[in-house]
């Protein structure tokens, strides 16, 4: 993380902020999608997350790394969305549409394989949400963005050994949280 970029972003430079946070836009979006289960809502929430981050980056004190900080904002935004009556009403409308016969297109070939995949992912998703936010961010950056250990260490402000250790512990914990097959 460049201190200069951060300083510029804290002074209101949108380009610097974009450069600083762009590597983590996928992290933000994936977490929003994971929580909201709807691409459109996730997109809105992710955008709101980054907008909030831009507004409040002046108060960022580097107590946590940028991705962890963004992850936390995204989490709060999604919680707000889930709590909002607007969201509940929209979800209800979608349900109403489905009851009316609407079914979004699904790339899965067969209902069985779709069911298996969905249920596995749901279990994994559920287990991930029970991890600490830092570990969730770590997994998302590692497996979603494909960051190397070095890149992760750089992004999170940790040394390489710590990143490996944390990632290993995150997966170990995840294994423990997954229901036994």
């Amino acid at each position: 993380m460049s201190e200069l970029l951060l300083q510029k972003a804290q002074n209101g430079d949108a380009d610097a902020f974009t450069e600083l946070c762009a590597p983590y836009e996928g992290l933000v979006y994936r977490h929003c999608l994971q929580m909201l289960k709807n691409p459109a809502d996730a997109q809105d929430a992710a955008q709101e997350t980054l907008l909030r981050a831009y507004r409040s980056i002046g108060g960022y004190r580097a107590a946590s790394s940028i991705p962890t900080w963004l992850f936390r904002i995204a989490h709060n935004v999604c919680l707000d969305v889930l709590k909002s009556s607007y969201y509940r009403r929209e979800r209800f409308s979608l349900e109403t549409l489905r009851e009316g016969g609407f079914e979004p297109a699904d790339p899965q070939p067969t209902p069985e394989s779709r069911y298996v995949r969905q249920s596995e992912q749901a279990r994994l998703n559920e287990a991930i949400t029970r991890l600490p936010q830092e570990q969730q961010a770590l997994l998302s950056l590692r497996y979603g963005d494909g960051l190397s250990y070095e890149a992760l260490a750089n992004a999170l402000g940790m040394n390489l050994g710590t990143v490996k250790s944390k990632l290993s512990r995150a997966k170990e914990k995840l294994r423990g949280l997954l229901p036994k097959q």
Binding site: N11, G12, D13, A14, F17, T18, E19, A22, P23, E25, G26, Y29, R30, L33, A40, D41, Q43, D44, A45, A46, Q47, E48, L50, L51, R52, A53, Y54, R55, S56, G58, G59, R72, I73, N76, V77, D80, V81, S84, S85, Y86, Y87, E90, E120, Q121, L124, N125, I128, L139, S140, R142, Y143, G144, D145, L147, S148, A151, A155, K171, L174, R175
Partner: protein, 427 residues
């Protein structure tokens, strides 16, 4: 091997799970939103009600503490002072004691000729119930040499002026600190009465409370023969913090007064003889006047002798009983370290218990106010929610202000993507 397979399977599952296409619209939209946001003045980062976050718990704590203290001061912990309790309604003194007013009986009351007051004092335990104090007319009355009932250490001075024993008046001044005020007050009273003495005066300042700051002032008359045993008995009562004993030899004064009394009595005898012999009216009047003056002088001298006899017979003990909290005991340097530690610990436990009791009282006290607040909240909350719902129903726009963790009631509409979105850097 299995572990390796499990790890690989988990890695694969995670890869699949996180394998999500990031919409280009999103990439472009948040950049555009940030660019637009840059056009508006950058708001200084503001903490979310930092003053409230700090002040609210402090204010709540202060309310509880002061409320508890106030409750402790407002709510009486005792109703009556049981130091003296009259068994039945009695005039004056008993009535005062029954309402808990510190009673102060003067010596003149105790030794006066009012039998009703004396009975009241006796019922209060301030004087011996067996009337061992002789308060008869013969003692306060006419003749001095008629055989006093006093049982003092002296041999009664004869009118001839010869004093056969020393007239020594002993006075003792004591201050006793106690943590068990009521018990020690009773002990002092019983001890004084057991010696045949009486309480000439007692007054109690303060009332029983957790402050433990009562003070009782005793003026005791103890038979001189029993004074030492009385003082020895006080060793079991509290802790003597001050003691002053004075002995005044009144022998010479007593002898002089006796001589003058004898002179005046002789003079009276002569005047009475002259009175018998007088014929002239003017002589009679003059002698009568002289007899009256002489009688007055005799009465005064007899009173002085009687006072000395009484002082010699019964020593005066002035005793101050100071109630002392265990905390004060802890400050007392004369005590041992262990006693001070124990006293301080006891005081702390007692104070904590008292505070918790007062806190409980306060919480119960404010229940009506809390009920009113709950009622207002019950009315206001649905109204506020309805207002929020109405605002949420309005067309969705990006909020003007937003901070981390601040609730956003409405999802944000996706702004239009710019024509050429920049490619985000990929690590």
């Amino acid at each position: 091997m299995d572990n390796q397979n499990n790890r690989d399977a988990l890695d694969q599952a995670l890869t699949n799970l996180y394998q999500t296409d990031i919409p280009d619209g999103y990439r472009a939209a948040w950049r555009a939103a940030v660019q637009r946001e840059e056009q508006t003045p950058m708001k200084q980062p503001t903490r979310k009600h930092p003053v409230w976050r700090v002040a609210l718990p402090i204010a709540a704590a202060l309310v509880l503490v002061f409320g508890a203290i106030t409750a402790g001061n407002l709510i009486p912990t005792v109703v009556t002072d049981t130091l003296y309790s009259a068994p039945a309604p009695q005039p004056n003194a008993a009535r005062k004691a029954a309402v808990g007013t510190p009673y102060a009986a003067t010596e003149s009351e105790a030794s006066g000729a009012n039998p009703t007051d004396y009975a009241a004092l006796s019922s209060l335990g301030m004087v011996p119930s067996d009337n061992s104090i002789q308060l008869t007319d013969s003692q306060t009355g006419e003749a001095f040499g008629g055989g006093s009932a006093s049982s003092g250490t002296d041999t009664q001075a004869a009118p001839s002026g010869t004093v056969t024993a020393a007239k020594v008046v002993r006075t003792v001044d004591l201050t006793i600190a106690t943590t068990t005020f009521d018990a020690d007050s009773d002990a002092i009273t019983k001890l004084a009465l057991s010696t045949g003495g009486y309480i000439a005066n007692v007054s109690v300042n303060g009332e029983a409370s957790d402050r433990m700051d009562r003070t009782a002032y005793y003026s005791l008359r103890i038979p001189s023969a029993q004074l030492d045993s009385f003082l020895a008995g006080l060793a079991d009562v509290g802790r003597v913090t001050y003691r002053n004993e004075t002995s005044t030899d009144m022998t010479t004064q007593y002898s002089d007064t006796s001589t003058r009394l004898k002179t005046q009595q002789d003079k009276m005898t002569r005047l009475q003889e002259l009175m018998k012999q007088a014929i002239d009216v003017s002589d009679l009047l003059e002698i009568e006047s002289e007899i009256a003056d002489t009688q007055y002088e005799i009465d005064t001298l007899q009173s002085s002798l009687l006072t000395i006899d009484r002082d010699v017979d019964k020593s005066s003990v002035t005793l101050t009983l100071q109630e002392q909290s265990a905390g004060d005991t802890a400050k007392t340097v004369e005590l041992s370290l262990w006693q001070r530690i124990a006293g301080g610990f006891t005081a702390s436990i007692r104070a904590t218990g008292t505070f918790l009791q007062n806190l409980l009282v306060f919480l119960v006290m404010i229940l009506p106010a809390l009920a009113v607040i709950a009622l207002v909240a019950a009315i206001a909350t649905p109204l506020l929610r309805a207002r929020r719902r109405r605002r949420a129903a309005t067309p969705v726009q990006l909020p003007e202000t937003g901070e981390e963790g601040k609730p956003a009631e409405t999802p944000v509409a996706t702004p239009e993507a710019p024509p050429t979105p920049p490619e985000p850097p990929k690590a």
